[in-house]
Symmetry: D2
């Protein structure tokens, strides 16, 4: 559902739509609706008009800010409203609908007996130490993620772990927003740039492919490119509009072919030949610039903008 | 065949073994044998004893040095002794045995008509411009490598292209040495190191896998590791001895799981989750250190030592 | 004073020595002494012997763990015990001795009227929002650090800012420990490594200098080196023992000279010529590995180990 | 002198202006003038009109292409026309005017007796091995550059060293062109970008300074900046037009202040605090993009575009 379509529904329906985003905490949706109503009636804090929310990013930010402005006690209550991961693995029931789906993806059912024992022991230790449940956004996690996150975070101090738990709470809300809503006009796009750091220039005429790896239903090759004289892709973004979807992607850079075309020395079995760069797109409203800096002997990439 | 086993054979057999390494240039093997004989009889340039050659690296170096010390005319003759890549694609005959095998791997038979026409035209232009055949070590190349190398190198100056051709001649010899000989005791090994550049420390407890990708007959998982508190692998090198083979490999780093264990913020769909690093091992006598420097938002790797 | 020398004094003297480390919070020193006494009498939690503390790192860790294990309310009290940075700029009085010195170094006296007004306004907003004073370890800070930290952190949520304030509290304690104590046998040392990423090998024969920049009284050239065939420094660490001091340093790498020696192309005015790498040593017990990865067109460095 | 102003002079004057650029090789200037005349009369190779040359880059390219198209013998003659660096250090006479100036800048007069002896011995060995003089563009070199270049290049093969000598010949010509001519409308400019790789976003509100280090007569602060929300500089390029001069520069990035404003953890004495990035601008017609990728624990930069 488009964000603005959702938000222009009657208050009760809006509340219902937003209620599940922060676990068992309808007060967040409630406060959101009240604030928006007040603002649309010019009763905002400063009486100024507020821009309408039209993106998932904007919606997430507004809800997050309500939670951030709540008291320490309200936050603790919110954290404590989250289900116990461990119980749920046994039961897989009584979860809010969203949680259930998230946790089955993490493959927690496939835990071995030994792993489950570790999990249970650490989970108990966690609750004893922090007095709130272990929270982790599990939609893109595996059982290894869960196990290592629990073991690692057990060593944190209480205030660190409180901050991390709140981060996870917001991340879970974000994933639920993405599953339920979409920006009116998603503005995100993906660009690339290849720099040849052995020769100090843009890498011209390098072949590149882009594959979508997940979600599985749309996996496959989504583009083939050749860099131009500035090391960029002709024809604009590699992905934009409806093609720019949240998920996991992989660039394939044909680096050794490029260096062969320049006569730059590479070893017989090139140290770097075909270079895969796997990356995730999390926000449909953002510009993702994912470049490659490459010589025959090293490379790097980063989340640019 | 072990290098020292080969080199202690009678002179005529040694010559025969080495003859095909530099294309149609038996004078290289000839000179090598003469020099070794003279040295073993204390007739070396400086009368000093010469260390016996026991590695493929040592053998390649000794032969390369003979070629490097030859005259400009001898080098040009050596370059001109190489077959015309283009003719061979049509004929696939009359090649030295080694060349034939190399070229079939490049998949040049699968050229489309258009590609073949481009290839032929560029090849003719190359010979016209430089007056020697286009040389490229093709064992790990694809048709794209060949086509882009030819198109790109056509723009070089004559002295650049002469230098590149000699580089390729040595690379071809190296690949042939590797196919025929092996070091008495290959000393090469592979190590890893993971640094967490978001937190400024070694990445502890990161899961890593190592797969061999080629040669195809030995492809598969070759190791699973977890980094220790120094970000390195317990138990020494990931590969050494007979497991350390020339070929193509891939590390798989479970970066998002690691950051989850530290509570370091990553996005819902992590920008970096599972990170593949594909690299080639070219020299069975060398130490390959292939580390990962990683934050949730960028990473880099390099050929270390 | 050596750590073990300090810790073997009578309990009252130990308490006095440690009292000022956590601002106005003698309970930390108190608890430390009690725990150590209990442990030395075999009354530790688990009755096991505890290793003696002999390093500043060990001392800092022990004190930090006491603070981390305290309640939320105790932590809040600790935070609130810190002086108001703003008042102190006007007064520069009634500070614990350590705070006074730290703040004069930050050059807060040199604030312009406009800057002071910004500072005061943000400081007031900070206290209003978070209900505790703005805390920042200022020993190595300038007025710009203070101003930008205050402006930036004002936007945080309460739980983020609470976590950051605690980080700063620990950092201040650490700086005070360093000013007062030293490890029995400081084990820290500094190493270097230069990799040539254009040629895929260690950079051999690169000239390097090391200067100490601060503290001012010991500033100056502390070493000149030439890399060996592995790209490292012969003769072991660049700094160790009593030469390895907390402070600010700068490597000077003569990169263009190195590339000239290899014949690697650089531009007329080289893009990279003399490369300074400025870095700080914070912990006298740690290994600092500060390498350079360099081609004529890019470079990087990192905190290695 | 503006390039197009120079090139529209009578042929004889043009020849005279260009004659000294390639050492003792008036045939290059001669051929250049003939080709331009032919082209302007529609007698070019293909009868097509040729675009007028209006930049130093264009002029250098045209002259280089004449040299590249000459025969191997002509190139060898050109190389051999260069003065012997070693003789000249003793004499400092009979050099073309340009060479003299260049060499005095390299500080070769300050060689110690031992260094001069090394220099002389290596120089003799070089000439014996390659049968042509050692060529190095020395305008930005020091005696260390010269000594290490000579020692290092002595180990090259003849064809490698021939290619490097030609590179140096072109580089010397380029430096002489820059000293004598300027582009009609220099299009070069300098930009910056700062990415925070710890937080995966542009670094907002980071203070940056830019100093010119050389030529000495124009050294000093040339700009102060604060990054905008995209991590870039408001107001366009940091240098453009007549401010964008060939020479040596240094960015100063106030990284620790930036991280303090975000509350990102840095050590007491920050590992990275003020980060200098020293770089050279060689081409007045080019875009230089010199970014910083930085976390509290590592950074990198590169020649972007």
């Amino acid at each position: 559902m488009k964000v603005s379509e959702a938000l222009c529904k009657p208050s009760d329906e809006v509340k219902q739509l937003l209620e599940g985003l922060y676990e068992c905490s309808p007060w967040v949706a409630d406060k959101f609706v009240k604030e928006r109503t007040a603002q649309s009636q010019g009763k905002g804090d400063d009486g100024a008009a507020t821009a309408p929310i039209t993106t998932v990013t904007g919606l997430a930010k507004a809800l997050k800010s309500i939670v951030d402005d709540s008291t320490q006690d309200e936050k603790m209550l919110l954290i404590r409203s989250h289900p116990d991961l461990c119980e749920k693995v046994s039961e897989m029931a009584n979860l809010s609908e969203e949680s259930q789906d998230e946790q089955s993806r993490a493959g927690l059912q496939s835990l071995t007996v030994q792993e489950f024992a570790d999990f249970e022991r650490n989970n108990a230790a966690y609750k004893r130490k922090f007095e709130f449940p272990f929270i982790l956004a599990v939609r893109n996690a595996t059982k290894y993620t869960v196990l290592s996150a629990m073991a690692g975070r057990l060593e944190n101090s209480a205030q660190q772990e409180f901050a991390i738990a709140m981060q996870q709470v917001h991340k879970i809300a974000w994933m639920r927003i993405l599953a339920k809503f979409e920006s009116d006009q998603p503005a995100g796009f993906l660009t690339c740039h290849v720099l040849d750091t052995a020769n100090g220039c843009p890498a011209r005429n390098m072949r590149i492919q882009l594959h979508r790896l997940s979600p599985p239903e749309s996996a496959g090759l989504v583009g083939e490119f050749v860099t131009n004289s500035d090391g960029r892709l002709d024809g604009g973004p590699a992905l934009k509009g409806s093609d720019f979807q949240v998920g996991s992607y992989e660039w394939t850079f044909y680096a050794a072919d490029y260096f062969a075309s320049r006569g730059t020395f590479t070893s017989g079995t090139p140290f770097l030949d075909v270079i895969p760069i796997r990356f995730g797109i999390d926000n449909p409203d953002d510009h993702y610039h994912v470049p490659l800096l490459v010589s025959p002997w090293n490379f790097s990439t980063y989340r640019g903008s």
